[in-house]
Amino acid sequence: MSQTNASDRAHLLGQGSGCALGEVRELTCLAPKDHGQLAEVLGEARRRSFSVLPIGAGSQLAWCRPDAIDDPANAPIPISLMHMAGVLEQIPGEGTVTAQAGTPWCDLAQAVEQSGECLPADLAGATTSTLGGILAAGRSGPNRLRHGPLRHHVLGMQVMLSDGTLAKSGGRLVKNVTGFDLHRLYTGSRGTLAIILEASLRLKALPEREWSFSMPVADCASGFTKALEIQQAMPRLHWLVLTRTQSGVRLQGGLAGRASQVRSDQERVLRALGGTPESFDGQAPTERKRLGEEGAENRHAWEIGSPLTHCAELLGILEAQLPTETKLWVDCGAGRILVGPAGDATVTEKPSWAETIGAEATSLRPLCVHRHLHAQWTGSNPSPTQTNWQQRLTCGLDPAGIFSMTLDPGKAPA
């Protein structure tokens, strides 16, 4: 094992493979220009037993930034696909798009908008993120309430395994069940199985009209109960988010679609809300974007998953225990709660409230916490079989173990 730091080792890999270096978020990374060069980099990493990390735009990696790792000698070397970007195929009338992983999400969104379509996940806040990074991180937008999570709209992928194998799964068509859905496995795998090279997504029609509301509520628990009521009253809501900030707790939501329908639905939503909500027409997309940015994972420390039936209760517990300045951001459609703090501060201690929410939550995931804490954190308690399956898959696809540092650094590949 090399004694040098990540940056030095990046240079070593670059020299060995002939790959140029680049910089993402002040990190030195390898920036291969094509498949061949990426394969060279991975080959070199295998030979030297260096672990590597596909980094996208680096926005999701606050918790394991290689420079934040105690033991720099074991920090993974970032690989950026910034030079492997661009839309590969978008045939008008097919309703799909295929693009390279390094394509910035906002560029992709712009490209499909020109044909009257939009991406299936509303990640307007993700200005710098790449397609590959968003998929690898398993992110979804608040409009999952209407369209489901982004992973449901991934139609196929091409990836590179750690041994340089190029492998594709799925396809570019809206409907296809040929072979295993390995693209579902890669989505959300956080770079532990393979490097995503390209992906095909199903597109949605660009809405004619958007509308949103924002309304103060007493607290998160009652706000969530209200959210469930609103959902019952209007099943076509596109998104519904509860936020707790310095300025109080607000329930916000939006509609999108055919203009006539949105107009009629917005009246119904207002009636169901009662009170005096703020209502946005023209500014609705701006509001949505602002909210999306607030809800970026890297602005939070923890992600809690909960069944919708338990969510209100859980929020009650959190509100009672969290300091008042801690931000909360709740995606009411998914039962997904993001817990502050704001900014880029890194959490270094296990919070006291974590012990008390166990029964109500189905998962607890650290986002912006220090790497060593992540390693010892076992709050989510996957079953032994689940852990075993994950290990087997990781070892099966990456026997050299050069990717597997990311998810669980304590685990040595068998």
Binding site: I91, P92, G93, E94, G95, G116, S140, P149, R151, H152, L161, T165, L166, A167, K168, S169, G171, L173, V174, K175, N176, V177, T178, G179, F180, D181, R184, L185, T187, G188, T192, A205, G257, R258, S260, Q261, S264, G305, P307, L308, T309, G333, A334, G335, R336, T362, S363, R365, S380, P382, S383, T385, Q386, W389, R392, L393, C395, G396, L397, L407
Partner: protein
């Protein structure tokens, strides 16, 4: 020679639920009756606990396992394998719970698809994926095959509706992914398992998303003077980002078969092609969608357009569509159902090609398909006793698949690969793609005991290097009576 482990199976699930007698012949095929196979036994466990014991025993004995739901699959995925044991979910029929707030249902794998929607209805909910066999097929089978259906145009295939599963793996270990959060923790195993055609284990319980019943539904049929015109109409509607819930096309032969059956729906027999479109959602958006369809249908020469006047008529129109496959039994004793996917911009071209391929081989071809998704079902009626006809059918099937793949299409949209399309996997995937799938499979089932000889083609050189398999590949596609 007595097989003690079969007696042990009997102790686990009860003697009536282990079938080894002559009646096991009833299980020799699934919906693909062209392919047959006989294993050593059929076992019908009642729940996850029994399944665990059964799977542990079979693991101990090194016996291959074929999971089976209702056996309505159309690619031979549930065909028994030589030396194997078929483990069926037909007795696992309990709906454990329906959560109206979270819009989730927790069911056993053997619950029939349409039974779930019936149970969910009092809560104002329904289960969206509606394969044509929904009156009989099981939800566990739907998960295994990532089944589709007409309304998947709007709602998406099964995989978009599976929230969690409980699976018993090849070793008899329980993988419980039921109480999952909205996004998976760690790897998305549920997404991997859905559509894996029973090769990673036996799904015994499923947690599914339910949808609110739509406020408004409208259904129309439009009669076209030609199949080409109907296809063009659909391609244009897709390009216009139509937001219908289902877009189906039926051709003349299919219409005649349906109208002769008990599912006669009042489809006009003189139609060369019939477009069946449904829109659901808010009243205003539904009306706009239907208006768009009407406008496009007229533009493409539709001769008659009719909309369903009430629930009963809508139900009839759909019953006819869903009975279409079975109704083809009136045309000939056997039916070959292809399941290719065409790029939606090239519908007309590929449908026409399929017709030409069948005509050249003097075969009777009926087309009934999920046009909105580009998912074609060229159905060829034949008689399996006619050896030459069987040969021509298989040849036509192969040519249709190849033609589709050449034009950017896919092998299967909703039926899966099974035995039928296994050898065609190489047309779509190269060695590295398939090796990667094998690696995932070997990671989870190193002895390859789960549903062997299905989905992934076995390439001789590799198999021999890996030390061979405990059974012989069937390869009896096209077996004669």
């Amino acid at each position: 020679m007595t097989k003690n482990w079969i007696d042990e199976l009997r102790t686990i699930v009860g003697p009536r639920n282990v079938i080894t007698g002559s009646e096991s012949l009833a299980w020799e095929s699934d919906g693909l009756s062209l392919v047959r196979g006989m294993g050593q036994a059929i076992v019908l466990p009642l729940d996850t606990e029994e399944t665990v014991l059964v799977m542990k025993l079979l693991a101990r004995e090194g016996v291959p396992v074929v999971p089976r739901g209702a056996g309505t699959g159309l690619t031979g995925g549930a065909t028994p394998v030589e030396g194997g044991v078929t483990v069926g979910t037909a007795r696992m029929r309990e709906i454990f719970s329906i959560d109206p707030v979270g819009r989730l249902a927790h069911v056993q794998a053997g619950v029939v698809n349409s039974d779930l929607s019936v149970a969910a209805r009092p809560h104002g909910l329904f289960y969206a994926p509606d394969p044509s066999s929904q009156a009989a097929c099981t939800l566990g089978g739907n998960v295994a095959n990532n089944s589709g259906g007409p309304h998947c145009f709007m709602h998406g295939s099964t995989t978009r509706h599976v929230r969690g599963v409980k699976l018993v793996d090849a070793q008899g270990q329980v993988l419980d992914l039921l109480a999952s959060p909205a996004d998976p923790e760690g790897l998305d195993l549920v997404g991997l398992i859905t559509g894996s055609e029973g090769m990673f284990g036996m799904v015994t319980e499923v947690q599914l998303n339910l949808e609110p019943l739509p406020e408004e539904v409208q259904t129309i049929i439009a009669v076209f003077p030609s199949l080409d015109a109907a296809c063009d109409c659909v391609s244009e509607a897709i390009a216009a980002h139509i937001e219908a819930s289902a877009i189906e096309i039926l051709d003349k032969l299919t219409i005649a078969a349906v109208e002769d059956s008990i599912f006669a729906a009042g489809y006009p027999r003189e139609a060369e092609a019939l477009l069946l479109v449904e829109a659901e959602g808010g009243a205003l958006e539904v009306q706009e969608t239907i208006d768009l369809v009407l406008q496009l249908a007229k533009k493409h020469g539709a001769m008659e357009i009719r909309s369903a006047q009430d629930k009963a008529e809508r139900a009839r129109l759909w019953a006819g569509r869903k009975g279409a496959f079975g109704a083809m039994g009136r045309v000939a004793p056997d039916l070959y159902v292809a399941d290719v996917v065409a790029p939606r911009t090239r519908l007309r071209e590929i449908v026409a090609l399929a017709i030409k391929i069948a005509e050249e081989r003097n075969l009777r071809l009926g087309n009934v398909f999920h046009a909105g998704d580009g998912n074609l079902h060229p159905n060829i009626a034949y008689d399996r006793r006619d050896e030459d006809e069987v040969r021509r059918v298989l040849e036509a099937g192969q040519l249709i698949m190849e033609a589709c793949i050449e034009r950017g299409g896919s092998l299967t949209g909703e039926h899966g690969v099974g035995v039928e399309k296994m050898t065609h996997m190489c047309d779509l995937f190269d060695d590295d793609d398939l090796n990667t799938m094998h690696r995932v499979r070997d990671a989870l089932d190193p002895k390859r005991r789960m549903n062997p000889t299905k989905v992934l083609p076995l390439r001789a050189c590799r198999e021999v290097r890996n030390g061979g398999l405990p059974f012989s590949p069937m390869g009896n596609l096209g077996a004669k009576t």
